[in-house]
C-alpha cells in the first residue's frame, strides 16, 4: 500500500475525505484539503507520527481561478524520508489558521507568505512583513505586481520586538538597555540586524530583522527562462554556489522526467562536496573571527582559494560558477582536472587536521562554545532545523543517506552527529563533515565514469557550438530551443538536496511555458535563524554573537 492510500484510509474515519483530493504526480504525493479542515489534518499527520517535519509553507497565486491562492505545506518524515504536499485553496480575503501551535517553525514561513501574497494566518502573533521594507505597499509575488516596480525606502525602523501575547513588541522596557546590532556590523555579516534588550550583559529579549538582501529571486525566476534562472541560483547561498545550481537543475529534471548521465552525476557530486568543504571553511573561519581568532580565517582561506582555482580551471569563474545545465553539465572537465582535485583533497585533509587542533582543541574556543546556547533535538525538529545544526543536536538526518541521489548510496561515508546541540558541537560536526566530503571526493574521483557529460535531448539541451556553426541541423536545433524555450510539462514538483546548511528545497510549478510559473526556494538557514531570539534568551551578548556565527546564516538564501 502506498503511503498516500495509507494516509487516506486513516483520514477517512476522522474527516469527510470526499472533499479531499488525493493524487500523485511526478513522484510527489499531494493532498488537497479545504480550509476548514487544514489545522486538524496537519495536527493528525503530526500526532500520528506520519510526518515530524514541517519543511516549508508558501503561497502560489493563480489569478484566473475562483479561489486564486494556494497555501502549500511541505511535510517530511525523517524515518522513511517520505514527503507529502498539503494544499489549501483560498479565496481573496480569506484567512487560514496558523500552523504555529503545531510547529514553531511555521512562524517566518507564514510571515513570508503574508508578505509576498497577502495571505492571512489566523492566530499568528506577529503577522508582519518580513522581507520587504516596511514602506513597501502591495504583495510582490502576486502575478499582477510587476517585477521591476521599485518602491523607495526612506527610513529604518527603530528597535522593536515580536509580540508575545503579554507584551507589545514596540514598547520597550525601561529597566533594560536596548541595543541594536547591524545590519552594518562586523558580527552581523553585512546584512543581518539583531535588536536586543539587555539586563547587564544578559539578553532578555531579542529580535531579528531580515530582508536587507531581499533580491526578489523568486520573482526573477518567474520572469526568466529555465536555464537563465541558473545564474540566479548561484547567488542564493553564494558560499557554495554549485550546490544551488545542482538543487535547482535536479528539480527541473525531476519535472522533465530525465535522468542525467553517470559522468554528469559524478561531476555534480564532486562539485557539491567541494562546495560543502568551502562552505564549512567560511562557517568555521568566520566563526573563529567572531570569537576573536583571526588566524583560522586566514589559514582556512588558503584552502578556499585552492578550490576557487579548481573551479576556475573547470569553467573560468571562481565564485558564481553556473556549471550545471538542465540535463547535465555545461561542459566536460578539462584533462587532468580530476587529478588536480585528488591533489587538493590530500592537502585539505592535512589542513582539516590542523584547523581542528587550532579550533576544537583550543582552550579559549572550548570555553567560549561548549555548553553555550544548546538546542534540544525535539526543538530543532519543531523549528525545522536541517543539516549540520540538526545533526549537532543529535538527529542523524542527512538526505544523502536517507534519500540518496547521484550515487551517494554506493559511496562510503559517515554522518557525524553531535550530542548537546551547543555551539561546539556545531563546529565539531562541520569539521568532521569536511573530512567525510574528502572521503567522498576521493571515491568518486578514483572511478569517474566515462561517457557524455549531458543528455542530448534537442528539446532540452543546446547543441554544442561546433554543431551550431558546423551543420544546419545543429543550427536549427539551437534556434528552435532558444526561440521556443525549454518547456517542461504542466505540473509541480518539490525536490531537495542536502546542501551545506541543510535541506535546500525547490518547489517548482510549471504552466508549460518557457518560464517557471512559481519557484519557491526552501532555504535551510531561514528555518534555523528564526529560532535565534529564543535560543539566545538568557545568554550573554557575546554568546549571541557566537550563536549567529555558528548558525552560518547566509543572507543570500535567507532573504533571497
Amino acid at each position: 500500500m502506498s503511503k498516500l492510500t495509507e494516509i487516506k484510509s486513516e483520514l477517512a474515519p476522522r474527516f469527510s475525505v470526499s472533499q479531499f483530493e488525493f493524487n500523485s504526480a511526478f513522484g510527489d504525493d499531494v493532498l488537497v484539503v479545504p480550509k476548514s479542515d487544514i489545522f486538524q489534518v496537519l495536527q493528525f499527520l503530526r500526532d500520528s507520527g506520519k510526518f515530524d517535519f514541517l519543511i516549508d509553507v508558501c503561497g502560489v497565486h493563480y489569478p484566473q481561478r475562483q479561489k486564486p491562492f494556494d497555501v502549500v505545506y511541505h511535510l517530511f518524515n525523517s524515518k522513511d524520508a517520505s514527503r507529502l504536499r498539503v494544499k489549501v485553496p483560498l479565496a481573496e480575503g480569506e484567512s487560514i489558521p496558523s500552523a504555529l501551535p503545531l510547529w514553531k517553525g511555521a512562524d517566518w514561513f507564514e510571515r513570508e507568505a503574508f508578505d509576498m501574497f497577502g495571505i492571512r494566518f489566523d492566530g499568528h502573533p506577529n503577522l508582519r512583513k518580513i522581507l520587504t521594507h516596511h514602506q513597501f505597499a502591495g504583495h510582490p509575488l502576486r502575478k499582477d505586481y510587476e517585477a521591476d516596480r521599485q518602491q523607495h525606502c526612506t527610513e529604518t525602523l527603530p528597535i522593536h520586538f515580536d509580540h508575545d501575547g503579554a507584551t507589545r513588541g514596540d514598547v520597550l522596557n525601561e529597566r533594560y538597555m536596548p541595543i541594536n546590532l547591524g545590519p552594518s556590523h562586523p558580527a552581523m555579516h553585512g546584512t543581518l540586524r539583531v535588536m536586543a534588550e539587555l539586563d547587564g550583559e544578559t539578553v532578555v529579549r531579542a529580535a531579528c530583522e531580515i530582508g536587507y538582501l531581499h533580491r526578489c529571486f523568486e520573482k526573477m525566476a518567474e520572469t526568466h527562462p529555465y536555464n537563465q534562472v541558473i545564474p540566479y541560483t548561484d547567488r542564493l547561498n553564494y558560499c557554495s554556489a554549485p550546490m544551488n545550481n545542482v538543487g535547482y537543475c535536479k528539480t527541473v529534471e525531476k519535472l522533465l522526467g530525465v535522468e542525467i548521465p553517470a559522468r554528469a552525476q559524478a561531476m555534480r557530486v564532486i562539485l557539491c562536496e567541494l562546495s560543502r568543504i568551502i562552505d564549512h571553511i567560511i562557517a568555521v573561519g568566520t566563526g573563529g573571527v567572531d570569537l576573536g581568532a583571526l588566524t583560522s580565517f586566514f589559514h582556512l582561506f588558503t584552502y578556499r582559494e585552492k578550490v576557487y582555482t579548481l573551479f576556475e580551471k573547470l569553467c573560468g569563474a571562481r565564485l558564481t560558477v553556473s556549471m550545471t545545465r538542465i540535463g547535465g553539465m555545461a561542459q566536460d572537465a578539462p584533462e587532468g582536472w580530476f587529478d588536480d582535485v585528488m591533489v587538493f583533497v590530500k592537502e585539505m585533509r592535512q589542513g582539516i587536521d590542523e584547523i581542528s587542533q587550532l579550533m576544537l582543541g583550543n582552550k579559549i574556543f572550548i570555553k567560549r562554545t561548549q555548553g553555550i546556547a544548546p538546542v534540544k533535538a525535539a526543538d530543532a525538529i519543531a523549528w525545522g532545523y536541517t543539516g549540520p545544526l540538526l545533526r549537532a543536536s543529535g538527529v542523524g538526518l542527512d538526505l544523502r543517506k536517507s534519500k540518496p541521489y547521484y550515487g551517494y548510496e554506493g559511496l562510503e561515508f559517515d554522518i557525524p552527529v553531535g550530542t548537546n546541540g551547543d555551539i561546539y558541537d556545531r563546529y565539531l560536526v562541520r569539521i568532521e563533515e569536511m573530512r567525510q566530503s574528502c572521503r567522498i571526493i576521493e571515491q568518486v574521483c578514483r572511478s569517474v565514469p566515462g561517457g557524455d557529460y549531458t543528455i542530448r535531448d534537442k528539446g532540452i539541451v543546446l547543441p554544442e557550438k561546433k554543431d551550431v556553426y558546423g551543420n544546419i541541423e545543429g543550427l536549427m536545433n539551437h534556434f528552435m530551443l532558444v526561440i521556443k524555450g525549454l518547456r517542461p510539462p504542466v505540473g509541480e514538483v518539490y525536490d531537495a538536496t542536502e546542501a551545506a546548511n541543510g535541506e535546500l528545497g525547490f518547489y517548482l510549478v510549471s504552466d508549460g511555458s518557457a518560464n517557471p510559473y512559481r519557484l519557491k526556494v526552501r532555504p535551510p538557514c531561514f528555518a534555523i535563524y528564526q529560532s535565534f531570539p529564543t535560543v539566545v534568551k538568557g545568554w550573554q551578548v557575546a554568546d549571541a554573537i557566537a550563536t549567529v556565527a555558528s548558525m552560518n546564516v547566509i543572507a543570500g538564501e535567507l532573504d533571497r
Partner: protein
C-alpha cells in the same frame, strides 16, 4: 671649494626634500587608505579573498580594515544594495569623516546588476557618490585591486570629483 648658498643647498639636500604640501598629503592619503568593507552579498565573499592571504590588499597600502565608518576613509560597497538597505548605507556614508572615497564593487552595487527587481536599488550611486566602479559579477580580486590602484592614482593627481562635490544627501536624511 663650494661656498655660500650652494653649500647650504647641498647640505639641506642630504636630509630634506622639497615638495608641495598638497602633493605630500595626497601621497600619504593614497598609501594609507583605511577601507570599510560594506559587504552585503556574494561580492562580499570575493572581497574576503581580496583581503585574504593570496591577493592581500595590504600590499597596496589599504591594510587596516575598519568596521567603524568614523575610522575609515574608503567605503567599499561590495554587493547588492536593496531598497531596505539604502537608508542604512547613506547613514554610514555620512558618518565617515573627510576625506572619503567610495568604490562600488560589482554589477549590483554599480547598477543593480541582473536584479532589475522590485526591492533592489539600481546602483548605490543613486544615494551616495561613487568614485570608482569595478565591473564584474563578482569582479575578480585582481579587478578590485586594479580599482583600488585607480583610486590611488586619482588621489595622487587630485582628480576633480564633481560627483562628490555636488552630492546632495537624499532628502530623507
Amino acid at each position: 671649494m663650494i661656498t655660500g648658498t650652494q653649500r647650504h643647498d647641498d647640505m639641506s639636500r642630504s636630509f630634506a626634500l622639497t615638495t608641495r604640501l598638497d602633493a605630500i598629503i595626497a601621497w600619504g592619503q593614497k598609501n594609507a587608505l583605511w577601507p570599510m568593507p560594506y559587504g552585503t552579498a556574494c561580492c562580499g565573499i570575493e572581497l574576503m579573498s581580496v583581503m585574504g592571504p593570496k591577493y592581500d590588499l595590504a600590499r597596496f597600502g589599504a591594510e587596516v580594515v575598519r568596521f567603524s565608518p568614523r575610522q575609515s576613509d574608503l567605503l567599499l560597497v561590495a554587493g547588492t544594495i536593496t531598497e531596505k538597505m539604502a537608508p542604512v548605507l547613506v547613514r554610514i556614508y555620512r558618518q565617515m569623516l573627510e576625506p572619503k572615497f567610495v568604490i562600488s564593487m560589482g554589477a549590483c552595487a554599480s547598477s543593480g546588476g541582473f536584479y532589475r527587481a522590485y526591492h533592489v536599488l539600481q546602483g548605490c550611486d543613486k544615494v551616495i557618490p561613487v568614485d570608482v566602479y569595478v565591473p564584474g559579477c563578482p569582479p575578480t580580486p585582481e579587478a578590485v585591486l586594479d580599482g583600488v590602484m585607480l583610486l590611488q592614482r586619482m588621489i595622487q593627481k587630485r582628480t576633480p570629483r564633481p560627483w562628490k562635490d555636488n552630492w546632495k544627501a537624499p532628502d530623507y536624511e
